[in-house]
């Protein structure tokens, strides 16, 4: 009874106060010293390569979590909440439509849907500075692009492999980019985006532009070696990067407890002196609240943060995954009790929005998604002459 052992850990605000993040191992005295937070020793060199002060006993691995736990939810205005609601709903409806088009054979290959995880991309990316910060993720990338305001039409047209697609039909679901929005993909190799994100962060630091890189990866990618190679260098060089583990509980068909010796992913930066944050990824306001804390820390030049966003994917790993490794009840339970869109809807209704208001939003989004599907279905495929374009930039 594999599923009976499963307990989905979605953290609520009250949980934070009870959950201590372990400090680096040491004797009681060092631990107390660490808690007392003695002043930091000055860094000895100011170069990009040597910002880390790794002799400091006062490495406050838990300070960010504590700050977040004090006020987990972001104090959003009704307008902001409406914007999050719209974005999350757009992702949901878009993905449902993508699933449908896949079923009709209009989308080929692999197609990984973001349904259930909407609050993560929307909550985090709403806290970024547009045009400055960079974002990179893995193959489950539709939601992150929509959360960045990229036109659903060109995303859907990429899914159907059309000339008008954001990668001109040459990338597909897993390989989409928008340098205009500083969205750097869309990467198909599990974990590769983490070190690439380290490079984007290095570029921010090198240029001293004040930007940061948000690098998403899953609980599956969290077991890739290069993730830790990157954490080591990012911390050593104090790179402005936020590592985001989107823990949707399953790496393809493998539950985290079957693949990970440490299932509390936010602790995995400890060995590299990276502070961790454990965040309820099913509540967009908590996600945004956590983002405020993490981004501030990184922008102040304190080096990387590791955030674990606890979330859940309602659909299979990809369209061809029957998801037999979990029970229908488990999925249904999350849908009914933790759904990020329903959760925010409830708050909006409390704030005085009417059912009709929200229905109107849903209707407009459905129309927008239908329009993007029509566009994606009816635009032409790339010309045959596109086969050899963009292999290289230069001519040799």
């Amino acid at each position: 009874m594999q599923n009976a052992r499963f307990t989905l850990r979605l953290v609520t605000a009250s949980d934070y106060r009870d959950r201590a993040i372990p400090l680096p191992r040491g004797n009681e005295k060092t631990r107390k010293q660490a808690l007392a937070r003695s002043p930091k020793k000055p860094a000895t060199q100011a170069a990009i390569t040597s910002g880390a002060d790794n002799t400091d006993d006062d490495f406050a691995l838990r300070s960010l979590q504590e700050a977040h736990a004090k006020a987990p939810r972001y104090d959003a205005s009704t307008d902001q909440m409406l914007a999050y609601y719209e974005q999350m709903l757009l992702i949901r409806r878009f993905e449902e439509k993508a699933g449908q088009l896949y079923g009709l054979g209009l989308i080929g290959g692999f197609c990984h849907l973001y349904i259930g995880q909407e609050a993560v991309a929307v909550g985090l990316q709403s806290g970024l500075q547009e045009g400055l910060d960079s974002v990179i993720t893995g193959y489950r990338d539709h939601g992150h692009m929509l959360a960045y305001g990229i036109d659903p039409k060109v995303i859907m047209a990429e899914l159907t492999g059309r000339e008008a697609g954001i990668s001109r039909g040459k990338g597909g679901s897993m390989h989409m980019f928008s340098t205009e929005h500083k969205f750097y993909g869309g990467h198909g190799i599990v974990g590769a985006q983490v070190s690439l994100g380290g490079g984007l962060a290095l570029a921010h630091k090198y240029r001293e532009d004040g930007g940061l890189c948000l690098a998403y990866f899953g609980d599956g990618a969290a077991n890739q070696g290069q993730v830790y190679e990157t954490m080591n260098m990012a911390s050593l060089w104090q790179l402005p990067i936020v590592f985001v583990v989107e823990n949707n509980q399953y790496a393809m068909g493998t539950a985290v407890r079957r693949s990970s010796a440490e299932t509390e992913f936010y602790r995995r930066g400890t060995a590299f002196r990276i502070p961790g944050m454990d965040v309820n990824g099913m509540d967009v306001l908590e996600v945004r609240g956590a983002a405020e804390v993490a981004f501030k820390h990184v922008r102040e030049g304190n080096g990387p943060v590791l955030m674990e966003l606890n979330t859940y994917r309602y659909r299979g790993h990809s369209m061809s995954d029957p998801a037999k490794y979990r029970s229908r009840e488990e999925v249904q339970d999350v849908r009914e009790h933790k759904d990020p869109i329903e959760g925010l809807k409830k708050i909006l209704l409390e704030k005085g929005k009417s059912e009709e208001d929200l229905k109107a939003i849903d209707k407009a989004i459905r129309a927008r998604v239908a329009e993007s599907a029509d566009f994606a279905e009816n635009s032409p495929e790339p010309e045959a002459s596109e086969l050899y374009t963009d292999v290289l930039v230069g001519e040799y």
Binding site: T49, L104, G171, H175, Y184, G198, G199, L202, A203, E229
Partner: protein
């Protein structure tokens, strides 16, 4: 308006399936996310989830139906405020949706005559720039030439930086980056931990983010840990992004056999990287080419794999005293003109080919020696022009014979130079074994000038 529910494809290859079970019945209310039916293929059973909301008005395909084609309308869903009883089946309910040309995933795959791809664009490399008459030359080691190239480019463009193991404070494991830390400081000359996969990824990401990294691998043997980023991230992303994502990065370091370091530290990766579209692969021999091509590599908008050779680092050659000595990528160089036989080589093999040509000259055979310099794109024009002149060609390559650059050049000669051949093209390479440690066995395994001489005589029918 009623919504047609169609038999979904559950995988890229699924064409039909069994409608195993209806979990909702006619008249049931459906909300988004409800499981409506179970569908079986030979691989799995999948749940068919509702996207649209409404009332299940009509079931058109009964449960238990086998071989239901993807796209067949299996049920009708009445929308909000619609009378479910009034919903009728669509006219051709049991007909699958036809694959309309220009739409759908299978377009073009089954055309009767097969499809023909457009012609591969031909590369047309520029000739080396003229060296003005009166230019002086200085003897410079390959090691210094490479360093000078990096330093000049770092002075010219502040986006250029160097990273790798021991490149800064140690001054380079092979001293190629000697002095760079002093001049440019630790921001631009970055010592990394021993973590090839990680720093190759960070370098690639930095290039995507607008910088111009030069990533040193202590040797290319260790780059195998990082080859995923070189190929999957650096080489392919521009294409996959429809031309949005630039990756101007140089991966450089010594490649090929060194001396007595055994199999894991002695391998030529030229053929590996040269097989990958999206990469530029350069493998120079002498100091002038090392400098001129390194500068070109750093300026290139494309990812470059720059293969050096440890045994050549210490050799000195003339380098023109020019302010900006930049050579064209993709252009081979005729190192020695000759009329009887062409010896094509690159990297350390060029020195051996030149030695062999000297020996051959003593035996009355006039050999032409071509240094490919760039392995991708390959300068086939220069190879074929030489073949047209000498009608005999051999390739000398310090590397394994199978699926090698030699194999590629032979294929080019067969495909495009067949009429010019007076003898079969031969390859002279290392033996097809992991490189042994013992001095005598290592010597046996590696290419040398006498073997090149023997092959050249063979194609001249003078052996």
């Amino acid at each position: 308006m009623a919504v047609e529910l169609k038999m979904p494809a559950l995988s890229p290859t699924m064409e039909e399936g069994t409608l195993a079970r209806w979990l909702k019945q006619e008249g049931d209310e459906i909300t988004s996310g409800d499981i409506i039916a179970e569908i079986e293929t030979d691989k799995a059973t999948m749940e068919f989830e509702a996207v649209d909301e409404g009332t299940l008005a009509k079931i058109l395909i009964p449960e238990g139906s086998e071989n239901v084609k993807v796209g067949t309308v299996i049920a009708m869903l009445a929308g909000e405020g619609e009378d479910a009883g009034a919903v009728s089946a669509p006219a051709a309910a049991d007909e699958p949706v036809a694959d309309v040309p220009g739409e759908g995933k299978d377009v073009g795959r089954e055309e009767p005559g097969g499809v023909s791809a457009p012609d591969r664009p031909k590369s047309s490399p520029k000739a080396d720039p003229e060296i003005p008459s009166g230019t002086s030359f200085t003897q410079v080691s390959v090691r210094e030439a490479l360093r000078d190239a990096m330093a000049e480019e770092m002075r010219r463009d502040d986006r250029v930086f160097v990273m790798g193991e021991e490149v800064a404070e140690y001054q380079g494991a092979y001293k190629v980056t000697q002095g760079l830390l002093d001049e440019f400081g630790p921001k631009r000359v970055i010592d990394t931990p021993i973590t090839e996969y990680g720093f190759a990824g960070i370098g690639t990401g930095a290039a995507m983010g607008g910088l111009r990294p030069v990533v040193e691998f202590m040797t290319f043997n260790f780059a195998m840990q990082a080859i995923d980023h070189i190929i999957n991230s650096a080489a392919k992303t521009n294409y996959m992004s429809g031309g949005q994502m630039r990756c101007p990065i140089v991966f450089r370091g010594p490649n090929g056999a060194a001396s007595r370091v055994g199999a894991q530290h002695s391998q030529n990766y030229g053929p590996w990287y040269a097989s990958v579209p999206g990469l530029i692969v350069i493998a120079p021999y002498d100091s002038s080419d090392a400098k001129g091509l390194m500068k070109a590599a750093i300026r290139s908008e494309d990812p470059v794999v720059f293969l050096e050779n440890e045994l050549v680092y210490g050799r000195s050659f003339d380098v023109p005293d020019l302010d900006d000595h930049v050579l064209p990528i993709g252009k081979a160089r005729i190192m020695r003109e000759g009329s009887d036989v062409t010896i094509v080589s690159y990297s350390i093999g060029v020195g051996l080919a030149l030695d062999a040509a000297e020996t051959l000259a003593g035996e009355g055979i006039d050999a032409e020696v071509i240094d490919l310099r760039t392995l991708r794109p390959l300068d086939t024009d220069t190879i074929l022009a030489s073949l047209a002149k000498t009608n005999r060609l051999i390739i000398a390559e310090e590397g394994w014979p199978v699926c090698s650059i030699a194999s590629e050049v032979m294929a080019v000669c067969m495909e495009q130079g067949f009429d010019h051949l007076d003898a079969p093209v031969l390859r002279v390479t290392d033996e097809d074994v992991p490189l042994p440690y013992a001095a005598n066995l290592e010597k046996l395994a590696l290419i040398d000038a006498p073997r090149i001489v023997a092959a050249a005589k063979k194609v001249c029918y003078k052996d």
